[in-house]
Symmetry: C2
Subunit: 446 residues, 2 copies
């Protein structure tokens, strides 16, 4: 035996599991496919700042990630918010303040009613076992788009729902089940909690980037973290589990797989996994997002009274924020190309994407935006060891038919990854919760 427990996946979830198992005095190994830890977090130097090409924000009620970052000596700073937001629907660019966009009165009234209803109804979905909810089958039989067609009528309220789905899930409303959508909202504390900056999931950022949280956990684990080791095969017997990479094999009493279901589908299991778990791997595609950054001499949009926040229904950037770092004179804008837009722009060259993103920024903030000093992007769909971001999504019928396979251990194999979280599913917080839960399962098992 090389270890008591092997953890597959050196993202936040796997590293948190490994850290807790190590702390409990057990021998642990982490196998990571990439030449770096951090999974869907990735922090890079850009200009004189470190920016987050992956997960970027933390917010209230995300207790685990906030505590861990603090223990590690990391500091947070608030997402910039001062100024007017921009709403770009069709050819029309308008501005507003607060969370609720500038829409015609009847759209605003409907939007208010729908949000109130969603906030109330999503809390009815049980976090632990959403498939037991009385309306589960009904809600899981339809897409969010179908729900919208049947329950939302004004153009403004429909566009706002589309924007929320793009911002929160990086997909189209036709890609996900309404039950999954409502469960996800409840999991993070409601729609406004997920959508908001102040008092919401986009409230704060971490100086030096979120990847540091993983790097520091990995540093503490030292040689127990083995990089550049994609796992090809997992063999389970009654006595233990053997894990095969291209060159080596490792064995342990139990293993934790801290990968999205899509990535789990790349591993060959022997004996075969139970049918429900295997099919789950083929039924949770990842969201689609290209994250882009443009660097400017200064955050000129602030001078013009803009916060930098944009919601758009255009063909390239669907969502933008001021991404500047306090203490730096430079201005940074982050633009998210998500859902169908991300798939379409994936086939183009980085230079074509740069031109399109900057052209969107000009449309939002004026001609000055064309004078950018640099461009950086991360296409998460094209990453072999992510295959998309932010998280694994559930199309209709998956949660009711396969949801119970998400966390159920398969013999000596336990499952982590943010897709298995009860709270803040899909977020960094959820990744830590999932790692904690899987570590507890392993430590309690005899």
């Amino acid at each position: 035996m090389n270890a008591d427990v092997i953890v597959i996946g050196g993202g936040l979830s796997g590293l948190n599991a490994a850290r807790l198992i190590h702390r409990a005095g057990k021998k642990v190994l982490v196998l990571e496919a990439r030449d770096r830890v951090g999974g869907r977090t990735l922090s890079k130097k850009f200009g004189n700042s470190v920016i987050d090409l992956g997960a970027q924000w933390v917010g209230p009620t995300q207790d685990r990630i906030l505590r861990l970052a603090e223990e590690q000596g990391l500091r947070t700073f608030p997402q910039h918010t001062g100024g007017r937001q921009i709403l770009a629907l069709g050819d029309k660019v308008s501005t507003y303040t607060g969370t609720i966009p500038s829409l015609p009165v009847h759209s605003l009234i409907e939007l208010h009613l729908r949000i109130t209803k969603i906030e109330k109804e999503c809390r009815r979905v049980p976090l632990e076992a959403p498939w037991t909810f009385p309306d589960a089958e009904k809600w899981d039989a339809m897409t969010v788009e179908s729900w919208k067609q049947n329950h939302v009528y004004t153009r403004g309220a429909r566009a706002s729902l589309d924007a929320a789905v793009h911002a929160i899930f990086a997909c189209e409303p036709s890609e996900i089940s309404f039950l999954y959508f409502m469960h996800y909202l409840h999991s993070g504390g409601g729609l406004m909690r997920l959508a908001d900056v102040k008092n919401g999931a986009q409230q704060d950022r971490i100086f030096g980037g979120t990847q540091q949280i993983s790097s520091r956990m990995a540093a503490d684990l030292g040689r127990r973290v083995i990089l550049s080791s994609p796992v090809l095969r997992v063999e389970q017997t009654s006595r233990g589990v053997t894990v095969y990479t291209r060159k080596t094999k490792y064995s342990a009493r139990r293993i934790i797989i801290a990968l999205s279901p899509t990535l789990c589908s790349k591993i060959a299991f022997s004996p075969a996994l139970p049918v429900a778990r295997d099919q789950l791997h083929h039924r949770m595609p990842m969201g689609s997002v290209i994250k882009t950054f443009a660097l400017y001499d200064r955050p000129f949009w602030r001078e013009r009274g803009y916060s930098g926040e944009v919601v758009s229904d255009g063909t390239c950037v669907r969502l933008a924020f001021d991404a500047s770092i306090p203490g730096s004179m430079h201005g940074l804008l982050v633009g998210f190309i998500s859902g169908e837009n991300a798939r379409e722009w994936s086939d183009r060259t980085p230079r074509e994407r740069e031109a399109a993103v900057v052209s969107d920024f000009v449309r939002f903030f004026g001609e000055e935006a064309s004078d950018h000093r640099g461009y950086l992007e991360q296409n998460w769909i094209a990453e072999e060891f992510s295959r998309g971001c932010y998280a694994g999504l559930m199309p209709p019928s998956v949660m009711t038919s396969f949801g119970n396979a998400l966390r159920d251990p398969c013999g000596l194999i336990h499952w982590a990854g943010t897709e298995t979280a009860r709270h803040w599913n899909g977020y960094m917080e959820g990744a830590l919760e999932a790692g904690e839960r899987a570590a507890a399962e392993v430590l309690e098992a005899r």
Copy 2:
């Protein structure tokens, strides 16, 4: 170079492609993961008959498969139909003749109207590029279940639609997109063509089993077919393609991958596939079906005036047919456990499934059905090299966003498999069509 063309997958599609490439004077190799050819066809001796544990029927307009079987000297016989059909809804078991079940008059009227509408509307979906259809986005945004909730009102008509989805797709109406559903119907020639025995997709069977069609193609190809060789990795350069199995590597100028998208997702591609193709692999789960057979001393149900055909909304068998072989005295019943039922029964033992299937047959045909002489089953979900049957399914939003990746070659990689077929998509006929098209692509390429 080991060959001009390597075909991955020794099912009907891959073997047909290989046969045509070989006939054109090119050097071809077929790599098959299993120790047998035939993919989702599998013929086995049971009692004194050979039965089909996989694809079982052929019908009119399936010109390629009928011609090929005839060239190979295989003979067909008609699916047994004489007698009354059984409809088992809830606790109620009733009988009827013809295709239209015994339902209350208002259900029958609605069913007739809906079928007429579906037959007409499905023909509007273009077979080649369904995503170009004006209503494509609207239809692809909803599940068949959502369409049913909005357009079908009587219990009888709803149950009939559910039964059709189970019979044709082996899934629940909440698992598939309405656009995909309508395209699939059009692809096979309409709902009644797919659902019917006489003049439909269940009209005829093949003496000795459908797997023979593959075996005979493979026999003609001789040592060009290499069994027990699952492909792990595909590397493409400008000059050719190298294919890695666990022990060997093979190289060719071009390759054809004749696997379902789900199985394609198990192969590592270098360089990475275009985003749309890669994501497609994660977005087309397979249908869920366990095919079961019970053997009797004689087809006793015929004596009682039953045809053997059953449609049920029960928790185990959803569809049954007389599967007896002319010339044999024995009686055979085939029962399909499909969709959610298949997932649930997958976790049980074969003995438990046998008891449940036979108990269903008793409910349908009377006490005599309990006296079976043998039971045989094939759980296609649990098959490592199928991961489900009958075919890869499209949840909402997949056809419009990823459909154009189904057949588009990726450099020197061409795609076959019945999921890529224009006609009879999902059927043996579609597998042959797809192989023929991929072979033509390769032969026309320089």
